[in-house]
């Protein structure tokens, strides 16, 4: 599967070259070789340290990552070397990318895979993570708080008003990507410890069982704080993902449907209030509901509309890699990378990408079903749900299903933090699936001979 994935990436790469210049891109083999070596290392690490891990996680992740690198390359070449680029039609909005963007992306891939291997080596048993419930919770909170506390010269994203990253000497880091993982682990650990209390004790209000305050208190505080901080950092997308993950994990832990209802209502109420209170949130809503009004199309909805136009021009089969004009969309290399793919690969390609994402989420959830101990169950379920939700929020955003919020598309977007964090997530899932699928010490013969049959 991995070889297949790498081959597809190579094909994509060559196809960009043909689309742009009518020949194989220069430097193709260097890039491709680096990519192959990195993925081979990932594969060997899985073989060595998690031999029973799910066979699909790494190839699918590699595939998405590789396509992301190819897209980065394609956008890096836009406007360079006589290729059609940013300044056609007088649209100078696309920020031309650094000429070494692809190299940097491959470099980040290498770091991501290195972290992947490190996680596999360090945590031979996923349950050891449970020890760090509170440490990781604090770390996650700190990571989220960090950009808000730092002066905006360091943490501000130019031109967006959001404060979500830390820039140090040319490197930018988005700590929230890692905070997500840390908090997922932390939630899982806490919920396992308090699961019975959460599900059983408590009063009944309006037909809904409420847990006792002192059981829920700490986690509510952590969650509320992270949401508040995210609001201060103007990062709605991530807060939505957080909220969703939190609610999903509560649901998995307690199997109370009422949590889903409460969570959803709370989020809708919160989002509505936020849209009235904060002007930038309100602008997002207006851009979502009325993107084509004369005012919006020039301002808040410009990006969204350009993305939609891009996907529209892609049609069913797309323009072909290297032949579209994805550079017309602002931020197409990171937040709106999906529209870039939509333009060049068409609906057919997008469906394939979505299926790949769905596969990762499905593998994660089936791991959650298979794995025995409750902590791993919660962690696998929470992580895969978070992954799926993140894809939903950004893909829904660019397709105008829900308001567009700026979060990264896992693996596809240009940007190191997201890539590294996604690889770490894959590593945790691989570890969990390895635990789940490891044959028991004394192999029980053919299962299926013992069947539980109800007589009634």
């Amino acid at each position: 599967m991995l070889i297949f994935a790498v081959a597809v990436v190579g094909f994509a790469y060559a196809s960009v070259g043909f689309g742009l210049k009518g020949r194989l891109p220069s430097g193709m083999f260097t890039y491709l070789l680096a990519f192959i070596v990195i993925m081979a290392l990932a594969h060997l690490a899985v073989r060595r340290f998690a031999p029973y891990a799910d066979p699909l996680l790494v190839p699918v992740a590699a595939m998405l990552n590789g396509l992301g690198v190819v897209m980065t390359y394609r956008l890096q070449e836009a406007g360079r070397d006589g290729n059609p680029g940013a300044n056609v039609n007088g649209h100078g909005l696309f920020v031309p990318m650094n000429s070494s963007a692809t190299l940097i992306q491959i470099f980040y891939t290498a770091i991501g895979v290195a972290c992947f291997v490190a996680v596999l080596v360090m945590f031979r048993e996923a349950r050891t993570l449970q020890r760090y419930t509170y440490t990781l919770g604090a770390a996650g909170l700190f990571l989220i708080a960090l950009p808000a506390l730092l002066p905006s010269s360091i943490s501000g994203v130019p031109g967006t008003g959001a404060k979500i990253q830390i820039s140090l000497g040319g490197f930018t880091l988005q700590p929230e990507e890692f905070a997500k993982l840390a908090l997922a682990v932390s939630f899982a650990g806490y919920l396992v410890a308090k699961r019975d209390a959460l599900a059983l004790a408590g009063r009944r209000v309006l037909g809904i069982d409420l847990p006792r305050g002192r059981d829920l208190g700490p986690i509510l505080v952590v969650w509320g704080l992270s949401l508040l901080l995210l609001v201060f950092e103007s990062d709605i997308g991530t807060s939505a993902v957080f909220m969703g993950m939190f609610v999903a994990m509560l649901y998995i832990a307690t199997s109370r449907t009422s949590w889903l209802l409460i969570g959803f209502l709370l989020f809708v109420a919160g989002a509505f209030t936020a849209s009235k209170l904060f002007s930038h949130v309100g602008a997002r809503f207006s851009a979502w509901l009325h993107p084509f009004t004369a005012v919006n199309i020039q301002n808040s909805a410009f990006q969204l509309v350009k993305g939609l136009e891009g996907m529209g021009s892609g049609g069913l089969l797309g323009k072909g890699l290297g032949s579209g004009q994805p550079y017309l969309t602002p931020l197409v290399q990171s937040d709106l990378v999906f529209t870039g793919f939509g333009e060049e690969l068409g609906l057919t390609g997008l469906m394939a990408l979505l299926l790949l994402y769905a596969l990762i989420a499905q593998r994660g959830l089936s791991t959650a079903l298979m794995v025995k101990d409750p902590f791993s169950k919660l962690l696998a379920g929470g992580l895969s749900f978070m992954f799926a939700l993140q894809v939903f929020v950004i893909v829904g955003g660019v397709t105008r299903l829900i308001p567009l919020t700026g979060i990264t598309t896992p693996f596809l977007s240009q940007g190191g933090s997201s890539l590294v964090a996604s690889w770490v997530m894959i590593a945790v899932l691989a570890r969990l699936s390895d635990t789940a699928r490891r044959p028991p010490p004394q192999p029980i013969q053919e299962e299926g001979l013992t069947q539980v049959v109800s007589l009634q």
Partner: protein, 164 residues
């Protein structure tokens, strides 16, 4: 590079992308249904798998479904009343933990409470260090004991019986 070639490359790439997806889903399917391939091939593989290990094992085993050998473990009382487990060749573990063969939904049962296993044509019950004990009829099970057909085994509020 002509437009035709570009179109061909484009379509070919999408095809390859989808092939990857289909191959990945094939892996999922293998995962779910065991061996791969078309249903007929799978059936054949299953038939072969059944034949292969069975034949060498047949001779040493006793004539199987004899008159006196129990065929089913039936829950006669407790939360799971009416549930039955077919007796095969391997042991049956009883307990509250999810990896037990018969997961007991009984507050008085331990997570790994007891096991019932075949030995020399008899079924033997063995307590696995449970908190509240296992009883064969009225007698507490302190060592592995053979279970006659129709004699109740009590675990907490659950009562089980071997039936023919």
């Amino acid at each position: 590079m002509s437009a035709l070639t570009l179109t061909l490359i484009r379509v070919a790439f999408l095809a390859v992308l989808w092939l990857f997806v289909i191959a990945a889903i094939g892996v999922v399917r293998t995962d779910l249904f065991g061996s791969s391939g078309s249903p007929s091939r799978r059936a054949r593989a299953r038939a072969r798998a059944q034949q292969a290990p069975r034949q060498p094992q047949r001779p040493p085993r006793q004539p199987r479904p004899g008159r006196s050998t129990p065929r089913v473990l039936l829950v006669t009382d407790g939360a799971l009343k009416g549930t039955s487990v077919d007796l095969a060749e391997q042991q049956i573990t009883l307990g509250r933990s999810n990896d037990a063969t018969l997961v007991l939904n009984d507050d008085y049962a331990s997570s790994r409470h007891a096991r019932i296993f075949p030995q020399d044509g008899q079924w033997i019950v063995e307590d696995l260090g449970s908190t509240n004990g296992t009883y064969l009829d009225r007698q507490k099970v302190t060592r592995p004991m053979p279970v006659p057909v129709g004699v109740p085994i009590r675990i907490g509020k659950t009562v089980l019986e071997l039936r023919r």
